[in-house]
Amino acid sequence: MTAPAIARGAAGRAVDTTRPRRRRTSLRRRLTIAAFIAPSVLGLVIFFAYPLLASIYYSFTNFNLVSAPQWIGLRNYTYLFTEDPLIVTATLNTLWFVAILVPVRIVTAMGVAGLLARAKRASGFWRTLFYLPALVPPVASVVAFVFLFNPGTGPVNQVLAFFGIKGPLWFNDPAWSKPSLLLLGVWVMGDLMIIFLASLLDVPADQYEAASLDGANGLQKLRYVTYPNLIPVLVFAVITGVIAALQYFTEAAVASSVASGQATVGGSAAQVIGYPSDSLLTYTQWLYERGFANFQLGYASAMAVVLFVVAGLFLVLLLGRVKAFTPEGAR
């Protein structure tokens, strides 16, 4: 059966002598590929597949990390969807960051990139200036922001007072705490901005020339030349932004801790998660609280599984709707 096939493939050559060598070469090639892929596959299995399967398993159990998990079926999930008193607050807060923080960051990053792409003088200086905040570690930037926006002693309110404006309580007011973090999110948008800038500078100039020749105005050039070229980067920014916002943790946790004036050292009842008034309580913080303060690892796992599914659905929805990453779309 195979000989004629090989004979057809290797027309005119001696079939019997080439077959073993080709097989050896092929095997070696496959082994080489496998060897190169192995670390990644191992990493994927150990650090992704195993924890994922573990979380799924634990989500059906009552598990406190130390004693053996007890199977309780769907109880964690029914509690999560029907009884958990803070899950709605935590979810709505998280969705606020998804719905507000992500688009505001993208629009700001695009706007700044658009301006920087046109900058002629000292462009390097301006690019560096806008990118620098992205280099600051998140914890440090949050601490600095909370001090800057301290209602009593912070320079922001003092400057506002100089102009006769009574500044808000910022991180200490439930109505202002999330917008305060939004300001921080905008300040550190340099990573996104640099990607948009690279993409903008990559738009072929002849497309703008052709558009000009066709009589297109600035807005039309933006709509029909710039925008289509930016779509892949935009999709990337939306997907990574949404997933990061769904997992929003560090900034909110540190802001709550610093703004409340308390330290969590000592772990007494004076915990500060979500301060003020649960306005900064995000889904992942609630998950962490349940898992590592209340020792409800089974329930925390159920929360993690739900978050994974929601993030996965977002991803499928976005990638399915946008053809930018397909070869056809890229053309």
């Binding site: 573990a54 398993y57 609280e289 409800q296």
Partner: protein, 448 residues
Amino acid sequence: MITRFTRRLAVTAAVAVGALALAGCSGQSSDQSVASEAPSHLSGTVSLWHFFTDREAKVVQSVVDDFEKKYPDVKVVVHSGQDDDKLTKAIAAGKDIDVGISYSTDIVGSFCSSGAFRDLTPYIKRDKIDLSQFPETVRSYTEFDGKRCTMPMLADTYGLYYNKDILKKFGYTEPPKTLSQLESMALKMTTYNADGSIKTLGFNPFMGWAENAAAHYGPAAGAQWLTADGKSAVGTSPGWPELMNWQKGFVDKIGYDKLNAFSSGLGQEFSSNYAFQTGQVAMVLDGEWRTAFIKSQKPGMDYGTAPFPTADDHTDLFGGGYITGNIAGIAKGSKNPELAWALLKYLTTDTSAVVKLANGLRNVPTTQDALTSPDLSLGDTFTTFLNVMKSPHSDTTPPSPVGAGYQQTFNDFWTKFQSGKGGDLKAGLKNVDKQINDAISPLDGAVR
């Protein structure tokens, strides 16, 4: 060719292997057999995990050195800076931990019920350890559901700190003894800026600020957390509405927004800018450890300490206060339980060791002998906290399987209530009961 069936089979197998591996990870059994007599000679290596760092870690190390001198053939491997999270994960992962120290009594319920710490009763019975040497409150927070899996290693007690200079300025020579006295004195001592904002406060009643937490207020009205059968007592204990109504009334007299703005602008609790130390707040509810902070951050400050005032119809409770403390136990995976017990016993019951730890860490000692030891050198302001420790009216937060989760639930409601957004108090407390019971009830109830 990989068919759909074989693919499914592979996935199922992977899930099964994962599940089995997971099941295998947990629930390691520990050998709980105890020799009928304590070993006459101790030798070997024992590990000690604790959360202390820097200066405090050196204090612990000095006591460990004394232990090694007493037992020359024993070597103690000390792991400092290990908080509750790390301790829990390390025990769960089966790491080599013999003795673990936690800063939180909140962990006792979880560690006793899960078996992370061993039951110490066989050792205590065998070595005839007199548990009455510990105050009753301390005994209560070191065991859970009748199982003693931890020993107390120093305690924190709470009381009132007052700035003598400010009190004198307003004509007061004595600190308040009741909550209404506290309020009237505080309101007199509160000053305002020209724009109506607060300049200084007599006492900051704002829930969530510094050490203002439900747990720390509770003993002032004999308020209870849990019933005897482990259910929430928050909604039925009359002390809580009494305290909450007093606190909310106090907040309203000054103004929620004004207090919020003022509290937001104050320095961090553990920094040298702490409002009591800067004179911005004249009286505060705080733990005994504040004496050490003032000593190092504001050495010249003229302040006094007193038991925290009681609710007006609970004056009989005066002298008591909130008590919590460090606890220590033997990890379930300990390979040297006898050595671990010897070290644990030394750290928690040897008078010289307890006194040395108390003097060094500036915490309240937990044994009667240490409490009355002439070697205690903690200063006059500390005496209040030693007395709070001895008071029969002092109380604690009972251990629960969900750690401090139940306190957080109540604190959240109280914080909302003080802002006027908590709704009806009775209904709110009933809802707190439900939430706490949900969290701590066993499998048939809800999630744990």
